[in-house]
């Protein structure tokens, strides 16, 4: 009979994954369709900007490329955080968790700056179907990143309280799955919104 500790490491389960990890994978599968719906909506509406600013006129691709790079680097630091804990290196685990959260926050800061600039340039949430779709899709992603930051901070607090030990490294791995997923989704969003040539007015 498998005991709790064994099950939490996935021995003796049908898939070989622990219940918690499988739950996260299944959840991420569902998230694909959530973003799928929003990305499709954006694709339908990208050229429907009416009298408002067109996407091709307003996007600042160099700026967003930099913030995308920041987000992608946070995936690297997430991997380093997990690797540190798996070696039992609590100190580096904390450092990389904090770095990941900071890089995520930097990305969110970039998004806030971008949104503010767009609104100043006349692209409000209600300006056109394009504007609504753009803000909703990127905003939804931003909320996901923010929730990820909350998870990272929770891990950090847990670590400072001394409960995030090497034996519980799977928790970091599961949060990492979420974090990487959100980054991968951003690669799609960045490609679809910014890199594919946008209509201009």
């Amino acid at each position: 009979m498998a005991d709790t500790a064994a099950v939490s490491h996935g021995h003796g389960t049908g898939t070989g994954l622990s219940n918690n990890k499988l739950l996260m994978w299944v959840f991420l599968g569902s998230e694909c369709l959530l973003f799928g719906g929003l990305i499709s909506t954006y694709l339908i509406y990208r050229s429907r900007f009416g009298d408002g600013p067109a996407p091709g006129d307003i996007f600042d691709i160099p700026f967003t490329s930099v913030s995308s790079f920041v987000l992608l680097m946070s995936s690297l630091t997430m991997v380093l955080a997990l690797a540190a804990l798996q070696r039992g290196d609590i100190r580096n685990n904390r450092v990389w968790l904090l770095t990941t959260a900071l890089l995520g926050s930097l990305f969110i800061g970039g998004q806030v700056y971008e949104f503010t600039t767009f609104v100043r340039e006349g692209l409000g949430y209600t300006t056109s179907p394009f504007s609504s779709a753009f803000f909703t899709l990127t905003g939804f992603h931003g909320v996901h990143v923010s929730l990820g930051i909350l998870m990272l901070m929770s891990l950090l607090i847990s670590s400072l309280r001394g409960t995030l030990t090497r034996e519980r490294s799977e928790t970091v791995e599961i949060v990492g799955l979420y974090w990487h997923f959100v980054d991968v989704v951003w690669i799609f969003i960045f490609t679809v919104i910014y890199l594919v040539p946008s209509p201009t007015s």
Partner: protein
Amino acid sequence: MTETMELEAPARPLGAYTRPKANTGWRDWVTTIDHKKIGILYGAAAMVFFIIGGIEALLIRLQLATPDGTVLGADTYNRVFTMHGVTMVFLVIMPLAAAFANYLLPLQVGARDVAFPRLNALSFWIFLAGAVFLNMSWIFGDAPDGGWFAYAPNTGMVFSPGKGMDFYAIGLQITGIASLISAMNLIVTVLNMRAPGMTLFKMPVFTWMILVVQFLLLFAIPVITVALFLLMFDRNFGSNFFNPEMGADPLLWQHLFWIFGHPEVYILILPSFGIISEVIPTFSRKPLFGYPFMVFSGIAIGFMGWGVWAHHMFVSGIGPISVAAFSVSTMFIAVPTGVKILNWLATMWGGRIWFNTPMLFASGVVSMFTIGGLSGVTHSLAPADTQQTDTYYIVAHFHYVIFGGALLGIFAGFYFWWPKVFGHLLSDKLGKWNFWLMLVGFNMTFGPMHILGLQGMSRRIDSYSPGFGFEFWNMFATIGAFIIALGVLAFIVNVVMSARRARHEPPVGLDPWDARSLEWFTPNPTPVHNFDDDIQVEALDEFWHRKYGEDENGKVVRVASAEEVCQDGSATDTHLPSPSYWPVVLAAGLPFVGLGLIYTLWLCVPGAVLILMAIYGWSFEPVDDPDGPHGHHHDHGGDELVDGGSGATPAEETAEEAPVG
């Protein structure tokens, strides 16, 4: 408690958060995380909404009984038929399927509980919160009136300025969260927690169908969530997703809705297919014919269900190529469904059929669903569908599949598993009254709607003028609807009378139906800890194979009695997870947030406080109450207490680790 207890007891993080200890009375029901009790809660709540939805149906039929009906008036009529649809789909069939899934799935795979018992409680309470929230719209005098599919832009601010569609958009988002959590939980349970030896292809067909449904929910719910979310933002914050004046596409809602909506049809029907795939072999005294075909056709339906959504939109102007493609895919999806029907018939063929109530209901599904399936195929022919769209022919079709298919199957399940859940049988005599009244009433109500539809009577109209030839069949259908109501009444009477009779009669004993799957290894009703020991599964229909073998001539003979095969439910060392307050607290916060979004944002504050408090409490409550009586729970079959707390037992597999965040 014992030494083992102390060894196991987790550190007490923030001692304020203890776990509830009640194991009797309403406190137990509110804080329970036992999958069996949650299943019963789902069933009871869904039956209440079934009665509400049924009253709405009767009101519709009263309004339409005679020409120029004046019972409801146009405005109320719109609200009543909208809420009838929403209620029956989201608050009756789905939770009834969830009731069976919750109760039976862990038993059928031989597990102690679902993978995440607290999340399981959470999904029930969120469902209930969403359901109550939707029906609160009646109290506020502003029930949704845009049809259950809520086509935008008709449901946007311009054409639906009241609050009704806000209740719809937010209410269904809340019930969607419940479905999603439940789907994730059950998928993990089936994939990870099967009894030793139970490979995927030794799972009962019911478990398989529920698994397919959970995957459909997992991928369909986010799509409607997007649609509802966009609608909510259009209505509350002025975005332009469904506003054609600003250049929005009026078909966007229809696509998003039906990409969810068609898989939803299979979400409604597949649990019933699973139920009757258990009932028919049991009462035909034969193994299910073509088990792998049954499983694969269920999976095929699950996949193909994603490629047929635009057949709901043939007249919306999606263009000839789309129409042709979806026409063909719709014809194809009839194939796996046909495979299932043939397999049920072949299972019955040559069997020694025992026509008691569950079997009658199951046969009702096979015949009635076939009628609904065939009228469905007529929709796949786009030219014919152009004539049928928005007529009563469509209403006839989907009631044949949802009532004739899904609901009758659920009733088959009630009669079949009632002894498993409550320890006594439902009366077969009243059950037959229940069945025949429902079957006759159902055919009287919905059969004539085919004719009315082909005569040109439109859906969703609140009245019709005399002289179109609609009078006779409308009156006929209304009479049929009241006969259905009598059938439902027979069921309720049966439930009450059987419970009363059971008080002075001996309990039902083991294995009343000579059944086949793992849940029957336990005594009736199921003890709180489910199984005494893990079951080593060697065959499909393991329970049956332990009872029967072959003699030297290859003839099937009984080799063991149920008493020899079944567990006696006496295990006392099973570790039981503690109940929790937080699922219900978290769920209670959601309607406040919803009302806040609709009326005044201030109301979101108490909602947010409740939700945050619950998440905080959830995260910090110990996995088990270190002070609490360990495994100290009432067995709902008797008064003996199950005491425990020893080391590793089957129960440990369900121990839940609070996910971070």
